[in-house]
C-alpha cells in the first residue's frame, strides 16, 4: 500500500521536470529572437504557394544578416481561402497576419514591416487590423456566465476611452465570444488582455513587457481598468487574472479576426499555433500533461468513467458514446488488445482530420496513450489514407519524437504502462473508413466489411478486442483530462457535448475549418463565420455528412447542428463536411454526383449496395438526360429505401441518403426534370435549350462554325438562329460566343 502511495505523484513529477526543461529551452530561444515569421506549412498552404513565400523570406533574412529574425513553421489555421497566411510575431504585441502572401508581398512585408516597423495594411488578413494603435485590448466574453447584468464591455471601453479624448483610430479592440474556453475564470464575465502601450514610434524592437490580464465581473471594474491602467498607466493588481494558456494564446493570435473569434477550438487548439514538427512546443502548451495525470493517479476504470461523464461521442459520424465503447473493450475477456486511430478521412469535402494530422499530430498520440491505458491495449495503429503524404510524414515524426521523450514505448514516464504506435497506410478505398473494413486492411487484406456483431470491442484485429476512434475523437481526449469531464460536458447541446469541426467549402466566401460548440446553427456557421455566398448569389442548400449525408434546404438553416437534429432532418453529422450549394447547382445533379461516388466505391460484397446503387444511378442518369420514364421518381424512392434497409455496412445503408434528402426537400426539381424536361439551375446539359439573343448577336458566325450538327444558320452580320430540332445540347455555341448572345433556357 505504501508503495502505491509512493508511486502516485512520481509520474507527474517526472512530467513536470520534462515540461520545465522544455519551457526553459524555449524561453532561451525566445530571448535570442526578435521577430518570428510564422508561415503555414500544410498541404493546403503549400498548394496556395506558402513555400514560395518561405523561400523569399529565407533569402531576405540571409541578405539582411539578421540572426534574430527566424522563420517558424505551423500547420493550417483553417482559413483556406486566404492562404498562404504569414504571421509576424513579436512579444508584447498582437500578431500581424497577412493573407494570400506572394513573393512580391513578402518583399514589401520584409522591408516595410519587419525591418521598418510599419505593417503593410493592404495585405493584412481580412484587413481588420490597422496600422498604429496606442492601445490594444482583447476581450473574451464568458459564454458560461448567464447572469442578468452582462454588459457590452467592448462598447463601454471604447466610449470611455473616447470620452477621455483618445481617438478612435488609436484603439484596437478585439472581442471574442467563444463560449467554451473559460477554464480558470468561471466566475468572470470578461477576461481581458491589454497589450503594452505603443508609445514611441515602432522600431521593430522587442518589448520585454508582456501583456496584462484582467478579470472583469462588473462594469465598475472595467471603468477602473480603463481609467487607471490605460489612461494613467497604473496597473490594478487586485483585478489581475491568471494566464490561461489554452485561450490566452488563441486570443492573442486571433481575437481581431471575425472568422476565428466566433469559434471554440478544442480539436484545433494547437493547429496554426505550434510547429507540428517540434514536440517542445506541444509540451509547452501542456502537451502530454493529460496523459501524465491519467497515468499518475487514475485507474483505467476511472478513465473510462471520466470519458463517459464528458459525453464525448465519436466524431467519425455515427456518434457512438466513446466512453461506452472503451468500457466494452476494457471488460473484454481476451488480454491482448489493440487501439486504432481511423485517419482514413474519405468523405469528399472533409479535411479537418488532415488538418489535425498535419497541424497537431501530438494530440492524437496523446489521446491514444490515454485510450490504450483505459482499454488495456499495448499496441496501437494509426491508419492513414495514402492521399495524405504530408500527414503521414508528420505523424511518423510525432511518434518518433514522443518515443524519444519517453511518452511512447516501455514504461511510459516511468509508469508500469507500456504502449507503442505504428502507422499503417490505406490505398484509396473509401469503404476502409468503415471499421471492420479498416481492420481487414490493417491485416493486409482487401478492405471489405463484415457483419456486426461481433463488434470490434469484442473481436477486432486478429480476433482481439479493439477500440477504434477517429482523429477528431482522439484529439479531444486530452482536452477532457486537462480541464475535467464536467467542464467538457458543459459545452454543447443536450445530447451532443463539446465542439465539432466543420470543413466549410463550396459556394461560400470564407472556405476553411470552423470549430464551434455543438448546437450552433447552420446559419451562424455559413453566414456569420463563412461570410455567406459569393457573387451575390442565393443560398440553396448545404450538404452535410458527405456521401452518407443529405442536403438541407434554406428553410431549415436555423437548425442547431448536432448528431440528433441533423438525423431528424434526413442528413447526418458525418465527419463534418459542409458543402454550400447556391442557385447555380442542380440538386438532381448533386444527388447523382454522390451516387456515382458510392457506386464506384462499393466494395461489391453485398448485392443491395453493388447492384442497387448502380440501378439508382441509371435512373438518375435518365432523369438528367431528359429520358425519364413515368414512375421513375417513385422507383428511385423505393429502391433507395430498400438499400437503406438491406445493405451490409454503413456505406451501403447510407448511400441513398443524398437522393432521399433531395427528394424530400427538392422534389419539385426532380418533377421538373421528369415532367417538363427542364433543369431549373441550367446544369443538366441535355435539358438546356439554347437560343440566340437577337439584341446581342452581331452575326459573326463563330457559333455556326463551332456547331457540330450545323444547326445554326444566318447570313454574316445578321442575327443567327438555332434549329432546336437538330440541336444536340452540346453547348459549343454558348462557350464559343464572345458577345454573350447565346442564352440558356
Amino acid at each position: 500500500m505504501d508503495e502505491e502511495v509512493e508511486r502516485v505523484g512520481k509520474i507527474l513529477e517526472r512530467y513536470t521536470t520534462v515540461q520545465n526543461e522544455t519551457k526553459e529551452r524555449l524561453a532561451k530561444l525566445a530571448n535570442e529572437r526578435c521577430i518570428e515569421i510564422q508561415i503555414g506549412d500544410a498541404t493546403c498552404e503549400n498548394a496556395a504557394g506558402s513555400q514560395v513565400a518561405r523561400n523569399e523570406f529565407e533569402k531576405l533574412i540571409e541578405a539582411s544578416g539578421r540572426k534574430d529574425i527566424v522563420i517558424k513553421k505551423t500547420g493550417c489555421t483553417g482559413r483556406c481561402s486566404a492562404e498562404p497566411i504569414v504571421g509576424v510575431l513579436q512579444r508584447g504585441r498582437m500578431p500581424f497576419k497577412y493573407q494570400s502572401v506572394t513573393a512580391e508581398k513578402v518583399r514589401r512585408i520584409f522591408t516595410e514591416h519587419i525591418l521598418g516597423g510599419q505593417p503593410v495594411i493592404d495585405f493584412l488578413l481580412d484587413k481588420k487590423t490597422k496600422n498604429k494603435y496606442r492601445h490594444q485590448i482583447a476581450f473574451f466574453k464568458n459564454g458560461a456566465y448567464t447572469g442578468q447584468d452582462v454588459f457590452d464591455a467592448a462598447g463601454r471601453a471604447a466610449s470611455r476611452l473616447a470620452n477621455a479624448g483618445v481617438q478612435k483610430e488609436e484603439v484596437k479592440i478585439g472581442v471574442s465570444i467563444n463560449p467554451g474556453l473559460f477554464i480558470a475564470h468561471e466566475s468572470l464575465q470578461y477576461y481581458m488582455i491589454i497589450f503594452p502601450e505603443e508609445k514611441a514610434r515602432n522600431t521593430g524592437s522587442t518589448s520585454d513587457a508582456d501583456v496584462t490580464r484582467y478579470g472583469v465581473t462588473k462594469p465598475a471594474d472595467l471603468d477602473r481598468i480603463i481609467d487607471s491602467h490605460l489612461l494613467k498607466g497604473e496597473a490594478q493588481p487586485d483585478l489581475f487574472a491568471a494566464a490561461d494558456p489554452l485561450f490566452d494564446r488563441y486570443l492573442k493570435m486571433y481575437a481581431d479576426i471575425e472568422f476565428f473569434n466566433r469559434q471554440t477550438r478544442f480539436t484545433l487548439r494547437n493547429s496554426g499555433i505550434i510547429d507540428p514538427e517540434n514536440i517542445d512546443e506541444y509540451i509547452f502548451y501542456d502537451g502530454f500533461a493529460a496523459a501524465a495525470r491519467v497515468l499518475d493517479g487514475m485507474s483505467p476504470q476511472e478513465v473510462v468513467e471520466a470519458v463517459k461523464k464528458s459525453g464525448l461521442r465519436g466524431r467519425g459520424g455515427a456518434g457512438f458514446l466513446t466512453g461506452l465503447k472503451w468500457e466494452f473493450a476494457q471488460k473484454a475477456a481476451t488480454p491482448k488488445r489493440f487501439i486504432i486511430c481511423n485517419a482514413d478521412e474519405g468523405d469528399p469535402g472533409a479535411f479537418m482530420d488532415r488538418s489535425t494530422l498535419e497541424g497537431d499530430p501530438f494530440s492524437i498520440v496523446e489521446g491514444m496513450i490515454i485510450g490504450a491505458y483505459a482499454t488495456g491495449a499495448s499496441q496501437g495503429y494509426c491508419y492513414i489514407r495514402a492521399e495524405y503524404p504530408l500527414a503521414i510524414k508528420r505523424v511518423e515524426k510525432a511518434i518518433e519524437m514522443a518515443r524519444a521523450q519517453g511518452f511512447l514505448g516501455k514504461n511510459i514516464l516511468g509508469s508500469d504502462f507500456s504502449f507503442d504506435l505504428e502507422i499503417r497506410l490505406g490505398a484509396g478505398a473509401f469503404v476502409c473508413g468503415e471499421e471492420t473494413a479498416l481492420m481487414h486492411s490493417i491485416e493486409g487484406r482487401r478492405g471489405q466489411p463484415r457483419t456486426r456483431p461481433p463488434f470490434p470491442a469484442a473481436s477486432g484485429l486478429w480476433g482481439c478486442p479493439t477500440t477504434i476512434n477517429n482523429v477528431e475523437t482522439w484529439a479531444n481526449v486530452p482536452v477532457i483530462f486537462l480541464n475535467g469531464p464536467e467542464w467538457f460536458a458543459r459545452l454543447g447541446s443536450e445530447k451532443s457535448k463539446g465542439t465539432k469541426v466543420f470543413a466549410l467549402a463550396g459556394k461560400v466566401i470564407n472556405t476553411g475549418l470552423v470549430e464551434v460548440p455543438m448546437g450552433t446553427t447552420l446559419r451562424e456557421v455559413i453566414f456569420d463565420i463563412g461570410g455567406g455566398i459569393p457573387g451575390g448569389k442565393v443560398f440553396k442548400a448545404v450538404q452535410t455528412g458527405g456521401p452518407s449525408g443529405g442536403c438541407i434546404p434554406e428553410s431549415l438553416i436555423d437548425t442547431e447542428v448536432d448528431y440528433d437534429s441533423l438525423a431528424a432532418i434526413g442528413s447526418i453529422m458525418g465527419s463534418g463536411g459542409m458543402i454550400v450549394v447556391d442557385e447555380d447547382s442542380c440538386m438532381v445533379d448533386v444527388a447523382k454526383y454522390f451516387l456515382e461516388f458510392t457506386m464506384s466505391e462499393s466494395c461489391g460484397k453485398c448485392t443491395p449496395c453493388r447492384e442497387g446503387t448502380l440501378r439508382m444511378y441509371e435512373i438518375l442518369e435518365r432523369i438528367t438526360r431528359g429520358e425519364a420514364r413515368d414512375g421513375d421518381i417513385e422507383r428511385l424512392e423505393r429502391l433507395a429505401n430498400l438499400i437503406k434497409k438491406t445493405a451490409l455496412c454503413g456505406l451501403g445503408q447510407t448511400a441513398p441518403n443524398p437522393v432521399l434528402s433531395t427528394l424530400q426537400h427538392f422534389r419539385n426539381e426532380y418533377e421538373l426534370h421528369v415532367h417538363s424536361r427542364r433543369c431549373p439551375a441550367k446544369v443538366c446539359k441535355k435539358l438546356i435549350q439554347y437560343e440566340v439573343n437577337p439584341e446581342k448577336c452581331i452575326g459573326c458566325s463563330a457559333c455556326a462554325r463551332a456547331c457540330p450538327t450545323r444547326c445554326i444558320s444566318g447570313k454574316p452580320k445578321t442575327v443567327h438562329t438555332i434549329d432546336a430540332a437538330k440541336c444536340i445540347h452540346c453547348g459549343e455555341c454558348f462557350t464559343t460566343c464572345k458577345f454573350d448572345a447565346i442564352r440558356k433556357n
Partner: protein
Amino acid sequence: MTKQNTGERAYTLERDLQDFIASCRKREHPESFLITVLHKVQARCGYLSNEHMQEVAELLGVPASTVSGVATFYHFFRLKPQGKYMINFCLGTACYVRGAPLVVDAFREVLGIEVGETTKDCLFSLEATRCLGVCGLAPVAMINEEVYGKLTPTAIPGIIDTIRRREEA
C-alpha cells in the same frame, strides 16, 4: 507454381526492397505488411507488374492470389506503367460544385487523352483521385506530389506547357 525463396532465384526487385520485405516477414503477422510493401514497390517502380507481385508473394510468404486480390482492390495501386507526370484531378464535392468537370475537359483537350490514359510521349497520365482534402482551394489537381489549387480551364494549357518546357530544357 510458387517457387520457394531458396536464394537461387534472381529477383528484379532491388536489394533494399527485398531486405525490407524480409524484415517484415520476421515480424508478427507478416501478411499485414502487404499493403505497406506494395506502396514501397509502386513508389520505386511506378506501378505493380505481374512480376513484382509474384516476387512480393514469394518474399513475404503470402499466396500470389492474395497479392493480386489486394492490388486490384485498392484504387491507389496501378497495374500499368504511367506517365512521368501523374495528373490526379480531385473528384471531391467541393471541386465538383466549383467547376471541376470543366477543368477535366480542359486537361483532356490539352493532352489529347481521355481519363485513365497516358500521352504517347509517356509524359502525362490523367487520372481521377478521391478527395485530396484541399477543398478550400477547389477545384484542385495533384501533379505527382504537388497540389495545384483554384484551377480554371484557362489555366490548364499554361501548367502543361510549363512542365513540357521544363522537360525539353
